[in-house]
């Protein structure tokens, strides 16, 4: 049977569980201090970043609602073919960028793993090198490469290759460090030299991990390739920035929709490939004879 609590019940309950209803003074003070500090900091941020400039904000909202009105409905104005070409250019950039990163990262990954090159100073230095390379965003790399090879998708490919190679090298060397030692011992016990150990004991273990990571990065590179064009490195981003520059908002919204569709399709495809063809090392099975 349940009935609503009355004041009398509550008065009985309060002294029984003091900690539930009233926290100790010190804890309350600390909480008050943290919340005051947090709120104060937030207000400082809001002020510093222009959230109190109400004129700017109201004018901006007016302009933004105009933009959204112009965006609907999305329209191609006869440029659909250009856009689709640019989408394929983006995919090509992501593919070649990933490939470049893969080939840069493969030797680096082997050199950077503790069980291949034992020297701790070398290991530390190379690992920090990877950290530095991957700490620089693909967009920054793109700006640098544009200065070297000029505007266009080629700069985007090189940018993706550079920024992702650090990331892949780190993942590869971690995968190599985590290999099972029993297989190495087994291959070595049957008289293999260092290269053969690498080929027959280490490589089969790390290859699925490497492949599935690379595929995953292809997916994420497709996303970054879409925006590299905004700074001038080709692909659909270039078209988008261009359409926004001439205020063709309906075409811009069409491009955004195309980007969403592409990213969705690539995600689905790479998920399928990962599950169907690349078995994770844990779930590796021997194929049974039919």
């Amino acid at each position: 049977m349940s009935r609503p609590l009355t004041a009398v019940d509550l008065n009985k309950i309060y002294p029984l569980y003091p900690a539930v209803f009233k926290r100790p003074l010190r804890q309350r003070l600390v909480r008050l201090l943290i919340w005051t500090g947090f709120t104060g900091f937030t207000i400082y941020c809001l002020g510093g970043l222009g959230f109190f400039e109400f004129n700017m904000i109201s004018a901006g909202i007016k302009k933004l609602s105009g933009v959204i009105a112009f965006m609907l409905p999305p329209a191609a104005h006869g440029r659909l073919l250009d856009f689709i070409r640019a989408i394929f250019e983006t995919l090509g950039m992501a593919f070649l960028g990933t490939l470049l990163a893969f080939f840069l990262a493969l030797p680096m990954g082997f050199l950077g793993s503790k069980n291949i090159v034992g020297n701790p100073v070398f290991h530390f230095g190379l690992r920090r090198g990877f950290d530095f390379v991957r700490g620089i965003d693909a967009l920054i790399w793109a700006l640098v490469w544009i200065n070297v090879v000029g505007l266009g998708p080629f700069a985007g490919i090189l940018a993706i290759g550079c920024s992702v190679s650090g990331e892949l090298a780190k993942l590869f060397s971690e995968a190599i460090e985590n290999v099972d030692h029993k297989q190495i011992e087994g291959v070595r016990a049957s008289g293999a030299d260092a290269v053969q150990v690498m080929r027959y004991a280490i490589f089969p273990q790390v290859f699925p991990v490497i492949l599935s990571n690379t595929l995953y990065y292809f997916e994420s590179n497709t996303r970054s390739a879409t925006i590299l064009g905004i700074v001038g490195a080709g692909g659909i981003g270039l078209q988008l920035a261009d359409r926004i520059r001439v205020l063709a908002w309906d075409q811009a919204s069409l491009i955004i929709i195309l980007i969403l569709i592409t990213v969705y399709l690539i995600d689905a495809a790479s998920n399928y490939i990962r599950q169907r063809f690349i078995k994770a090392p844990g779930s590796r099975q021997f194929s049974s004879n039919k």
């Binding site: 349940s2 937030t42 941020c45 510093g48 970043l49 222009g50 959230f51 400039e53 700017m56 904000i57 901006g60 909202i61 302009k63 933004l64 933009v67 070409r85 394929f88 995919l91 090509g92 950039m93 593919f95 070649l96 950290d131 530095f132 700490g135 620089i136 965003d137 967009l139 920054i140 700006l143 640098v144 490469w145 200065n147 070297v148 090879v149 000029g150 266009g152 998708p153 080629f154 985007g156 490919i157 090189l158 996303r223 879409t226 925006i227 905004i230 700074v231 080709g234 981003g237 988008l240 920035a241 926004i244 955004i256 980007i259 969403l260 990213v263 969705y264 194929s287 004879n289 039919k290």
Partner: protein, 296 residues
């Protein structure tokens, strides 16, 4: 029949079956490999064609690339190291100010993203919301918010609100809201609902159930994801400046575009160091909030 011959006969059959299976396996493997390589070559040539890959241009450009790096490196001499470094970092006050702005942009964007993700994540959890319509609407809102890249939002907002950090905060916040909301609702869907039933049985409404039965369980995970998002947002905030949305990116863009070489290396180094420091401290904090084993 001689049992020995019978045995041999069986062995032979088993062995030939084995050979047959091995040959089959090899053939399918070879066929798969062939198809894979054909597809790969097709993708490679296609990409090289649409990507306007030009090896000559690249080879011509490569010395330029190394020159570029050489140019960006500061001229440091052991004898005058201190003054060389202070020359290199001549704009340190200004850059630190921009860096601080970048961190503030990331902070506010994470905060707003968190608030909206928190509001949206409960209606978009299958086990907490039986109303299919609100579930669907909230899910779609979050999906759209996270699928469009930050930089695209930033372009649109910079056009509307003008150059400055405000559009950057909005752009990153919208993206974070979608990304965090998805993770939050996944956490909710794994929550233990015994306590929720208890609250409902003792007469609590939906909001009280969320407040007293679900939030205490999921909040540590939420905080951990939010801190992770803050790290990601610091990186994002450093590049939205490229389209005019405030922070250090704007300064970096200027120095790259105007070929002020040593400034480029100075700012990039500053940025990478700041990002690593924030990453490391956030990681420590995350491990304190939630056990180390939860995060890979």
């Amino acid at each position: 029949m001689n049992p020995n011959i019978h045995q041999k006969q069986q062995n032979f059959e088993a062995f030939s079956a084995f050979l047959q299976a091995e040959a089959d396996l090899k053939r399918t493997k070879r066929r798969q490999l062939f198809i894979f390589f054909a597809l790969f070559l097709f993708a490679l040539t296609g990409s090289a064609y649409v990507g306007e890959v030009n090896i000559n241009e690249f080879v011509d450009g490569l010395p330029g690339f190394f020159n570029y790096f050489h140019e960006t490196l500061p001229k440091l001499h052991a004898a005058t190291l201190a003054s060389d470094i202070s020359d290199w970092y001549w704009g340190i006050d200004k850059w630190l100010q921009f860096l601080w702005d970048t961190v503030l942009i990331a902070f506010l964007a994470t905060l707003f993203g968190f608030i909206f993700a928190f509001l949206l994540c409960f209606p978009s959890s299958r086990n907490l919301n039986k109303n299919i319509r609100t579930y669907f609407v909230c899910r779609r809102i979050m999906e759209i918010a996270r699928s469009v890249p930050e930089l695209v939002y930033a372009l649109i907002f910079v056009f509307s609100f003008g150059i400055g950090p405000f559009p950057g905060v909005l752009a990153i916040a919208i993206h974070s809201c979608g990304a965090l909301g998805k993770l939050f609702s996944e956490v909710n869907e794994n929550a233990e609902l015994g306590a929720a039933e208890g609250v409902l049985a003792s007469g609590g409404n939906w909001f009280q159930m969320i407040r007293y039965a679900v939030v205490p369980q999921v909040f540590p995970n939420f905080m951990s994801y939010t801190l992770l998002r803050f790290e990601i947002n610091v990186r994002a905030a450093s590049v939205v400046g490229f389209v005019g949305a405030g922070g250090i990116g704007q300064e970096l863009m200027t120095s790259i575009r105007q070929f002020i070489y040593t400034d480029v290396s100075a700012i990039v180094l500053l940025l990478v160091c700041a990002v690593s420091i924030i990453d490391i401290s956030c990681e420590k904090l995350r491990h304190r909030i939630i056990g180390k084993e939860f995060l890979v």
